[in-house]
Amino acid sequence: MSHENWQEQLRRGSLDLAILLTVSAGPRYGLAIIQHLEAFTDLVVTEGTIYPILGRLTREGLLEAEWVEGEAPHARKYYRLTQRGAKRLREMKDEWRTLAGKIARLMAASEERHS
């Protein structure tokens, strides 16, 4: 696997978690989610490809979507976390922390041996 491919897999794997985290603070519409992700991460390379992911997360029951009219000159589609989504988010956060901790320990051990 090339370095770019590895980075891509890593980015893709963490994007679901990043989106769920973004929406966990409260309902957001697509562009607001993208802007939040762009402010904190470099996970969004092509803005238009976030929408299909939001669609999948909605189909999986982790998010629910609702069109809101009148707030802006055009309608906005808001996404909010469902109960199932909140449960999945907790699991994903635990798994992420566990994995990150293990990799950090592994890196520390490796650096110790080399020093």
């Binding site: 519409y29 697509g30 092509t46 490809t49 299909p52 992911i53």
Partner: protein
């Protein structure tokens, strides 16, 4: 920013290409919702770029960051059609995903032909099993002048042909049919799974 007629045409052109691409593999209501959401994104960005000196440049930047319509459509395909096929493993989603992959790339087309051949062969074996009790003298291993010619059904049998296999053809064909179908289906699912991992557009 109030768009000029040219700007509106540019947006409508983008949305038209996106809609056409999505329509090839998504139901109408899903396409309408997706296009509406992308349009909302574009309008939102245009509204935020009030004061930009050059409408053309501002609009092109927005569309560039959104991604080409075909790429956005490809992302929908990866997330919806292929994801559904890989996750559920059901025949219809798998067939739809293979069709989509086969009609968008050369490699996809070649693999699609191979998989179609596999499914057709599996169904062919089952048809042979079904035909044997009805046409016992036309279905089986056809040997003409001592040389095996084919396994299946032939109407009428050629002169000098002898049909071998008897009623053993039925369980044999059923076993072969299901085995070929299962292997092809497994191969299709594995192919789509790898396709999803490797070909999904950059997020």
């Amino acid at each position: 920013m109030n768009l000029s007629e040219t700007g509106e045409s540019r947006i409508n052109g983008y949305l038209f290409v996106l809609e056409r691409s999505l329509k090839t593999f998504l139901p109408g209501d899903v396409v309408r919702d997706a296009v509406r959401e992308i349009e909302s994104h574009v309008r939102e960005r245009i509204g935020a770029s009030d004061g930009a000196p050059n409408e053309h440049e501002a609009l092109e930047k927005i569309l560039r960051e959104l991604g080409p319509p075909l790429r956005v459509a490809q992302a929908y395909s990866a997330e919806r059609v292929i994801d559904e096929a890989v996750t559920t493993g059901r025949l219809v989603p798998i067939a739809r995903a293979i069709w989509h992959v086969a009609t968008t790339t050369v490699i996809g087309a070649l693999v699609g032909i191979a998989l179609f051949t596999g499914y057709a062969m599996g169904v062919g074996f089952l048809v042979v099993a079904a035909l044997k009790p009805v046409f016992p003298n036309n279905v089986g291993l056809l040997v003409v002048n001592g040389i095996p010619r084919s396994f299946g059904a032939q109407f009428p049998t050629p002169p000098g042909a002898v049909v071998y296999g008897g009623y053993w053809v039925i369980p044999l064909s059923i076993a072969c049919g299901f085995a070929v179908l299962a292997l092809t289906h497994r191969a299709a699912r594995r192919f789509l799974s790898r396709w999803r991992e490797r070909r999904q557009p950059t997020m």
